[in-house]
């Protein structure tokens, strides 16, 4: 009961602006995917197009093997929560949850109730009267309790304080383990979410920069520090993402993992080799594009 997503040559335009161009993406069923990208990179456009809120100018989207546009079966199994909740703001939350229980086949009212308590949301109130963070928290409740085959959270954490965000992550993981489904999380808080992700997708200025296993990406970047000359020699034939020099010492971020032999060579040259976390790798990969 998990949906796959597949896009081919997906292109979306707003007037003369191209928001997405030729995106070919495969999201495996039943995994937690992270969607990363700088502001304006096309994350929200991609997610709303997958969720059939928007039609592509060119290319195709398939969700669970079918075009989601005006496709009732697929739409019932898809839940997109955008920033600040994406809910009917003038409906009492209690009534909104009651409505979802009717339209969402897998909706779990007990879970919704427990999450309302966790986030200290009063079911009698309307989202329009809530702070941004509380509105987002209600979006998280709706997204989790709907238990849709494809659940998408587009920066749902916005406005949520740290305890609420961690309560959201905990609830997501716990329910995902019990009821595995395809989850997409888009967030700028890479450090907070990275260990929960199985796959990572990075968009850069409307194009797909990469899609890979989170573990592979964590091992991909390496920092090499030492005497400038030795660092230069070692990094000569490698893709350098960033170079910093302080006096005679250089620190270079290299794209691509090192073999055991590479590491031995580095040690012989008196170089220090260190890991690059996902957040730094993301910054280096996307800022490089902008600088050049």
């Amino acid at each position: 009961m998990s949906f796959t997503v597949s896009t081919r040559g997906l292109t979306v335009r707003y007037g003369r602006t191209t928001a997405l161009e030729g995106v070919n993406l495969e999201l495996a069923a039943g995994a937690i995917h992270g969607l990363l990208g700088r502001n304006g990179s096309g994350k929200t456009t991609l997610l709303s197009t997958i969720a059939a809120f928007r039609r592509p100018a060119a290319g195709t989207v398939l969700v669970d093997g079918e075009d989601p546009w005006e496709n009732e079966r697929v739409m019932r199994g898809m839940c997109l929560i955008r920033e600040s909740g994406d809910v009917q703001v003038d409906l009492r939350m209690r009534d909104h949850l009651g409505y979802l229980a009717d339209v969402r086949p897998n909706f779990d009212g007990d879970l919704a109730g427990r999450l309302m308590d966790t986030f200290e949301l009063d079911p009698k109130r309307r989202p329009s009267k809530l702070s941004r963070g509380k509105k987002s928290a209600f979006g998280a409740v709706v997204g989790l309790a709907s238990r849709a085959e494809l659940t998408i959270f587009d920066e749902v954490h916005l406005g949520m304080d740290a305890p609420s965000r961690f309560a959201f992550y905990d609830a997501l993981l716990a329910d995902y383990i019990e009821h595995p489904r395809t989850v997409v999380l888009s967030s700028h808080l890479i450090d907070e979410i990275q260990l929960m992700l199985e796959r990572v997708v990075i968009l850069d200025r409307g194009r797909l920069l990469l899609a890979d296993d989170a573990e592979t990406l964590r091992a991909r970047g390496v920092s090499v520090t030492g005497p400038a000359e030795a660092v230069d020699r070692f990094t000569e034939d490698r893709t350098v993402l960033r170079r910093q020099q302080l006096g005679g010492t250089s620190q270079v971020t290299v794209d691509g993992g090192l073999s055991a032999a590479d590491r031995a060579t580095a040690t012989q040259l008196g170089l220090e080799v260190g890991p690059i976390d996902l957040q730094s790798l993301f910054v280096h990969l996307t800022e490089k594009e902008v600088v050049r």
Binding site: L173, I177, L195, L197, E198, R218, G274
Partner: protein, 132 residues
């Protein structure tokens, strides 16, 4: 909890190996489930599962259907044998290489080892023989 050096699943596996070696986890004892691991450390359950698969493949953990994961009876012995084998390649050989580089004679290293190692019951300072 985790550093960025190795994949998370390797770090989890190493941690459990460490607990078995130290005796914190003994034979037949149940280990945390994938679910408990994932929720406790806020990590993807597939990552935790990968660590357990590796330990099962190494014969350190045993899966009991429907109950959970348990430490194998001979887990500590297996680890000791493996670690003792690796001790010479991973620890002693690099020391020898470094000593050669610095011009330190082997006798001096041996002397140092004798002086710092805890004497055995017979006072000789000899460590356990391989396979004992």
């Amino acid at each position: 909890m985790f550093d960025g050096r190795d994949p998370i699943y390797l770090q989890i596996a190493d941690q459990i190996r460490g607990e078995i070696l130290a005796g914190t986890l003994s034979g037949q004892e149940q280990v945390m489930s994938t679910t408990q691991y994932a929720t406790t450390y806020r990590i993807n359950p597939a990552t935790a599962a990968k660590a357990f698969t590796e330990l099962v493949d190494e014969g350190l953990l045993v899966k009991r259907r429907g109950v959970g994961m348990f430490v194998a009876d001979d887990a500590r012995d297996r680890l000791l044998v493996r670690r003792r084998e690796r001790f010479f390649t991973d620890v002693v050989d690099p020391v020898a290489a470094e000593a050669r580089l610095l011009g330190i004679p082997v006798e001096q290293i041996v002397g140092r080892l004798r002086a710092t190692s805890t004497p055995g019951p017979d006072g000789s300072g000899r460590t356990a023989e391989e396979g004992s």
